[in-house]
């Protein structure tokens, strides 16, 4: 994507509330026209503050946010033309659904018939036609969420900002809404900036994910990149399940390296967060990449281990293994493959490929 496609640019943005600790630290981030960008991070990582600065509710302490090349520094929220969906929806309880959705149009002094038409269309879009006369408190959580969406989209904003919009919904509804929001984004093409702490949500919905921690962006990339090629131990552990093996770099060989684990075993891994021999490192392997009793595969990493626990998940089994001096190594195996064959106490061989194994910064 070329720089002309950049709709929003965070340029060395910092934010502090108390003058001592930065909530957001030298944030540089480009948001591209039409993309679905998720800012993912644990609570207190500065992701909501980032969103609030973009919406104009918070002022950056230093640095600049630009939209379409123009600084937003002195642009108040009501001139930014960004739709915001809040965690608690922020629907106006004294107004009907219709009045809520019409609110941005009324503020823009649009004629009454045009308002009626656009509100009707927006409510149809979120499948709430016929709910116009209800009050927000007469709607379910999911319906309120849709009203908030319709209200944030009805005025065709440049940007749709969403701050943990699905946090208050139960799991099933949340998953359904994830798909609906994704489809809406595909249909409308509006640029979406979505803030969440739920890594599954980030992976399913986004074009691009920016993982944030302690005020800094740790990594940006497609969901696949973030999941399969984490750039740091934080990202590897925050997104998905992960096995961590601590050790010291023994030898560096181009993009790869050998790591001596605490147990004395040697692991071969991709070199990501290490620069020289003797560096401390944490090697990361996803549980689903571990193979039990690999037949014929020429895995460079092969270890003898013992099954400590078998946990049944329906579609897969999760094995807790004692391997390489640790007893918390998790392997995900298909329930069909393993069946009843593996039980606690069994001695097994565990192996994984070099390219699934990454030597990251030490935890």
């Amino acid at each position: 994507m070329s720089s002309t496609d950049v709709i929003v640019r965070f340029n060395a943005v910092e934010k502090t509330y108390d003058g001592r600790v930065n909530v957001v630290e030298r944030l540089n981030l480009d948001i591209y026209q039409g993309e679905f960008l998720t800012i993912l991070g644990p609570s207190g990582s500065g992701k909501t503050t980032t969103l609030m600065m973009l919406a104009g509710f918070e002022e950056p302490t230093s640095g600049d946010i630009q939209m379409s090349g123009q600084s937003l520094r002195n642009v108040p929220p009501f001139r930014r033309n960004m739709g915001v969906v809040f965690q608690n929806y922020a629907l106006f309880p004294h107004k009907t659904v219709f009045q809520n959705v019409a609110f941005p149009l009324v503020q823009r002094k649009i004629s009454k018939p045009a308002i009626a038409e656009q509100v009707g269309e927006a409510l149809r879009m979120v499948e709430l036609q016929g709910y116009g006369d209800r009050r927000p408190n007469q709607l379910s959580g999911g319906q309120q969420q849709r009203v908030a969406l319709a209200r944030a989209l009805v005025f065709e904003p440049n940007l749709l900002l969403m701050d943990e919009p699905l946090g208050a919904l139960d799991k099933k509804l949340r998953e359904q809404m994830q798909i609906e929001i994704k489809h809406l984004h595909e249909a409308l093409g509006t640029t979406v900036v979505y803030v969440t702490h739920d890594q599954a949500e980030a992976l399913t919905m986004s074009d691009r994910v920016a993982v944030m921690d302690e005020g800094c962006i740790q990594q940006t990339g497609t969901p696949q990149e973030i999941y399969e090629r984490p750039g740091s131990s934080f990202v590897a552990n925050f997104i998905g399940e992960n096995n961590n093996l601590d050790g010291t770099v023994e030898r560096i060989d181009g993009d790869d390296c050998e790591v001596r684990l605490v147990s004395g075993d040697i692991v071969v891994a991709r070199r990501v967060g290490v620069s020289q021999v003797g560096d401390r490192t944490t090697v990361s392997v996803r549980p689903e990449q571990l193979e039990i009793n690999p037949n014929g595969e020429a895995h460079p990493n092969r270890f003898q281990g013992e099954v400590v626990e078998v946990i049944y998940f329906g579609d897969h089994n999760s094995l807790r293994l004692a391997v390489a001096g640790r007893d918390d190594i998790i392997a995900k195996v298909s329930a069909i493959d393993s069946g009843d064959k593996i039980s606690p106490g069994d001695s097994v061989e565990v192996g994984w490929a070099l390219h699934h194994c990454r030597a990251l910064d030490p935890l």
Partner: protein, 419 residues
């Protein structure tokens, strides 16, 4: 539905009824429990609220004295049409009644009652009663007029007739500047008695302005307390609002006298710094009444407002902003409407409390700043006229009673949740 109907048919009517009966029994138990829980409050309200109010209503129309103390006279004037002076029989009844009353030491009581009708009647009755035992034979009329020639004036007899009870509308009519004439018609009371409407309008007017000042000061304050991110600031402000609750009303009002009088702290300060050359008259006038009353009533407005505002999430104003509303427009269309229930509840409290103020205007107000409460106290404590005192009380009660529907009409149903 079909399944349910089948089930009912299968299990039969009998079990259906027993289920209903069980439900009724359960509900009865719950109801009994609820009644037991509210019973103490209910009794308390009956004893200290309903009963006194009924008693005030009763006292405002109760007029039993004349038939008790002057029974014969009461009987005779009941027959009299009030057109011309009553005949000898009436005079005879009065002489006998007054003599008995003098002996029973009740003449002063009836004298006071009659004095409400015409001033000077009390001394006239007392003197006549003292000498009544000297009149032992007819002509009673001539003898009475000989004692005091006012007994020959028809007004005094009409006053007796008007006081002959056992119930009267005079107090209630007087409380709205009206009187009942001898022929039964109702008309405007003479100018020296038409003070009540003035007091009533003044009472409402002062209360209304106190409310306006309370809203002007209290709304922004409640907003700040509810929305500030500084916990310290909101706690300090809340304490400042609540401090008036911690001291007695009398002490606070007295403190205002110390602060506001011409040689008081505020005037001394202003003169010393040279801002004014003459002391401002801040007390014993309307300004003093407003200052002291607003100070006392402010918490009643701020607290309900604060309670409502605290529950309005910040995100509402933010959402309004992001949707294109300028701050003023966002406030008017999103924030203000959501605070109306609190504003209505607080305003109603302030208004109702302000209407009943007595001590504060009495201490910091001038003669033309007194409210209905002052009249009630005057009648009750100084002249012992419980009838008039009650009637003015009824007037105040009615004033408050009309406020509520007016409020509901203004703010719509369900707007007032506190009252």
């Amino acid at each position: 539905m079909i399944v349910r109907a089948d089930t009912v048919a299968a299990t039969g009517e009998h079990s259906g009824r027993s289920l209903e009966a069980k439900l009724r029994a359960a509900q009865r138990r719950r109801k009994l429990k609820a009644v037991a829980l509210v019973a103490p409050l209910f009794l308390f309200i009956i004893v200290v609220f309903v009963f006194p109010i009924l008693s005030i209503l009763y006292h405002s129309v109760d007029d039993p004295k004349l038939p008790l103390i002057l029974p014969r006279t009461a009987e005779v004037v009941a027959q009299w049409d009030g057109g011309a002076l009553p005949d000898e029989a009436a005079y005879e009844a009065l002489v006998n009644d007054l003599r008995d009353a003098y002996e029973a030491k009740t003449a002063a009581v009836i004298g006071m009652r009659l004095n409400y009708e015409i001033s000077g009647f009390r001394s006239m009755v007392m003197r006549t009663a003292r000498r009544a035992k000297r009149i032992e034979e007819p002509p009673y009329q001539a003898s009475l007029i000989g004692l005091d020639e006012r007994w020959g004036e028809i007004e005094y007899w009409r006053a007796i007739k008007a006081s002959s009870g056992p119930f009267t509308t005079r107090n209630l009519l007087a409380a709205v500047d009206l009187e009942r004439r001898w022929d039964g018609s109702v008309g405007r009371a003479p100018p020296e008695r038409t003070i009540y409407i003035t007091y009533l309008t003044r009472t409402f007017w002062i209360s209304l302005w106190v409310l306006v000042y309370c809203i002007a000061i209290g709304y922004p304050m409640a907003y700040l307390i509810a929305t500030t991110t500084s916990q310290r600031l909101s706690r300090i402000l809340l304490v400042l609002v609540l401090i008036p609750f911690w001291t007695s009303l009398l002490v606070r009002t007295a403190a205002w006298v110390v602060l506001l009088r011409s040689e008081g702290i505020i005037n001394d300060f202003l003169v010393n710094v040279g801002m004014i050359s003459e002391p401002l008259s801040l007390i014993f006038n309307r300004i003093g009444v407003y200052i002291a009353m607003v100070h006392i009533l402010l918490p009643f407005l701020v607290l309900p407002l604060y309670a409502v505002m605290r529950n309005i999430p910040d995100s509402h104003m933010r959402a309004a902003g992001s949707l294109g509303a300028r701050p003023v427009s966002a406030f008017l269309s999103v924030y203000l409407p959501q605070t109306l229930p609190g504003l209505a509840a607080g305003s109603l409290l302030v208004l109702i409390l302000a209407l009943g103020f007595y001590i504060t205007p009495a201490l910091v107000g001038g003669a033309s700043d007194q409210m209905l409460g002052y009249l009630i106290a005057e009648f009750a404590t100084r002249s012992g006229n419980w009838g008039m005192s009650s009637a003015v009380g009824v007037l105040l009660l009615l004033g408050v009673a009309v406020l509520y529907p007016v409020y509901r009409a203004l703010l719509g149903r369900g707007a007032i949740r506190l009252v």
